[in-house]
């Protein structure tokens, strides 16, 4: 184990995979000498050269499409989008091309493409640079969706993503980049997709959270424990494929479910988790599941306003208490 920041874990994993496999390369805006705006490709050009660590023009549709084409032609591209908000600029290439190519071509194509970048609140980047868009990419079949909440998960999931023969949307969180975690030194460390991580065991309520909300849910769980409620915190780690088995098992045990994410609550992925859990474990539920997500407005610039839009730790605590019918005092 080494102590590494989330950004360094991503950088090191890309480097290890580029050493291992000539077909892996990375392209994106400012990835060369600058090392990416968030440092996830720092100095990689020095080892691998500018052919494999390619600065691109600001042409998101063009570079994502070039990633699809290079993948179809046998390479294993990683496309870095500076902000995952820019997926919307390249939406056709992701949702109509990368996602559908294998299927519409009758299973002939393989698209080993990773589209990665960061999203979310925390740096005052305002409406078009602070969204959480992972749900959008769950809705259209053909993409895998990974959301690492720690540096170790970032390393293990990214390695799996790079070695996967399908397009993977890899959502990092900007507020996690500078946080340090223990990361396995193993250059073969891989986390299988579709396997949730039970971050904390508990018998009273299941809290499902991802990205920044995993640490927030764990903090909420500590507080809840002091009030006599033992929360089980589950990080799905990948949303496609989604490990409902682990979540449903937990719900059968606790009978109560809260989902907390930064993505908008309206039609957010928490709704999918709640619906599937209800379908699978209705008889076990003692309360209707509660979904927590960003309010139905764009992410505002002002720090207090930004904080007001997304769920707080207190919101998670209150939701857990509500599904447990916990009385104050």
């Amino acid at each position: 184990m080494s102590k590494k920041t989330y950004a360094t874990a991503i950088r090191d994993t890309i480097a290890e995979e580029m050493r291992r496999d000539d077909r892996v390369f990375i392209m994106g805006e400012d990835v060369e000498t600058l090392g990416g705006v968030f440092g996830c490709t720092r100095d990689l050009y020095k080892e691998f050269g500018v052919e494999r660590v390619r600065n691109t023009p600001i042409s998101e549709a063009g570079i994502v499409g070039a990633g699809v084409g290079a993948a179809c032609a046998g390479m294993r591209p990683i496309v870095e989008l500076m902000y995952m908000d820019f997926t919307l600029v390249s939406a056709d290439q992701i949702l109509n091309q990368a996602a559908k190519t294998r299927y519409v071509f009758g299973g002939k194509a393989r698209i080993p493409l990773v589209i990665r970048g960061q999203q979310g609140i925390g740096r005052g980047n305002a409406a078009t640079h602070s969204q959480s868009l992972e749900t959008l990419f769950m809705h259209v079949p053909g993409l895998k969706v990974a959301c690492p909440s720690t540096a170790a998960d970032a390393a293990g999931l990214l390695r799996t993503a790079i070695r996967d023969d399908n397009p993977v949307m890899f959502f990092e969180h900007k507020a996690l980049y500078s946080v340090s975690f223990d990361v396995p030194d193993d250059t073969e460390y891989m986390i299988p997709f579709g396997k949730a991580h039970v971050k904390r065991a508990g018998k009273d309520v299941t809290i499902v959270a991802s990205l920044l909300y995993v640490s927030r849910a764990l903090e909420a769980a500590e507080d809840l424990a002091k009030q006599g409620i033992e929360a089980e915190v589950i990080d799905p780690r990948t949303l496609i494929p989604l490990d409902m088995d682990t979540i449903v098992e937990s719900v059968k045990k606790t009978g109560r479910l809260v989902i907390a994410h930064e993505a908008h609550r309206m039609a957010g992925w928490g709704a999918e988790v709640a619906a599937q859990a209800t379908e699978s474990a209705f008889r076990y539920l003692d309360a209707a599941p509660i979904r927590l997500g960003a309010k139905a407005c764009p992410i505002p610039f002002n720090l207090e306003l930004e904080s007001a839009v997304v769920p707080s730790i207190k919101d998670i605590i209150d939701a857990a208490k509500a599904v447990c019918y916990h009385q104050e005092g």
């Binding site: 042409s59 549709a61 070039a66 294998r102």
Partner: protein, 326 residues
């Protein structure tokens, strides 16, 4: 100079495409074929002349009007026809139909039903070629409408900056559905846009096999020499509506007739071949008859092919099998 055997191949391919397309129209009118079908009749010279210079390992991306490219890149008529009828023997197991047909084994990375959608994909295939230092080339076919999409600009710029081995072939058939090119496009010749990316841009008669051939030959040579991309605009014309059933209120019958009678690419090529004494009339007649027969047999094959099994509808979304929670 086009070598004699290549001329034969081009003439054969143009006839295969025409017979295939007319058969499709016929099947559509009989309700044996459904969906969006965009026919390539009148534009055959472009696909045939360009693809005559490509090998199986070279890549193409195609368009919603993609049957011609698919055939010229080496697809069998029967399996292509089966795909258009949605049959399991089709190239894509009946999943793609007309607008997404692909044949990876022949380097066809697919028709693309999003206008301009294939241009970055061909560019990416060319990037793969450059990274692994092979001597392949990628060709992106697209229409005049696509030349006004952002992906056109982004891809030509990217390929220009990176000197990628890709040839951008714009088939300007004069209309984006009903909108004439002059109404949608600020320049008279799309070929001039090459200047924006510091790459050669040329406009040729898209019904003249020889002109397309020479332009493509130069562009492919340049690509393989590592000198970068080229843009070739081929001015051509579609005889039929944008889709089967298009009322064609936007153009006159006289205009269509003039192209058909004066500038038909197959007739022009035939006349030239006879004038050159490359082939006898009987030899060319035999090629035409064979194409007609092949199209009929393809239809027969497609009609008699089994439908795909709905039980397999979830296959191939991902490369590996996934759990039920997907």
């Amino acid at each position: 100079m086009i070598p004699k055997e290549r001329k034969r191949w081009i003439y054969k391919t143009m006839n295969q495409i025409r017979c295939f397309e007319l058969k499709i129209q016929n099947l559509f009118e009989q309700n044996l074929l459904r969906g969006s079908v965009h026919l390539y009749v009148g534009e055959e010279a472009v696909a045939a002349a360009v693809c005559s210079l490509l090998r199986d390992e070279d890549y193409i991306t195609s368009t919603h009007r993609g049957h011609g490219h698919c055939i010229a890149k080496g697809a069998r008529l029967d399996r292509a026809m089966a795909e258009l009828m949605g049959k399991s023997a089709g190239y894509c197991k009946g999943r793609s139909g007309s607008m997404h047909i692909a044949d990876f084994e022949k380097g066809n990375l697919g028709a693309n039903a999003i206008v301009g959608g294939g241009i970055p994909i061909a560019t990416g295939a060319a990037l793969a070629v450059k990274l692994r230092r092979s001597d392949q080339v990628a060709v992106s076919f697209f229409g005049d409408g696509a030349a006004n999409e952002g992906t056109f600009h982004e891809s030509l710029n990217l390929a220009g900056v990176w000197k990628l081995p890709v040839v951008f072939v714009c088939e300007n058939n004069g209309y984006g559905i009903s909108v004439p090119t002059w109404q949608s496009t600020a320049v008279k010749d799309i070929g001039v846009r090459g200047a924006s990316y510091d790459i050669p841009g040329i406009t040729v008669d898209g019904n003249d096999v020889y002109a397309i051939y020479e332009a493509t030959k130069t562009a492919v040579k340049r690509a393989k020499a590592g000198e970068g991309p080229s843009l070739i605009e081929c001015k051509t014309y579609r005889y039929l509506g944008h889709w089967t059933g298009d009322p064609q209120t936007y153009r006159t019958k006289e205009e269509v007739e003039e192209w058909k009678s004066q500038r038909d690419p197959i007739t022009l090529f035939r006349e030239k071949l006879l004038k050159e004494k490359a082939f006898t009339a009987e030899e060319l007649d035999a090629i035409e008859q064979a194409a007609l027969k092949e199209a009929e047999e393809a239809a027969e094959f497609a009609i008699n092919s089994p439908e795909p099994d709905p039980a397999d509808v979830l296959e191939d979304v991902f490369y590996e099998k996934q759990g039920a929670s997907l």
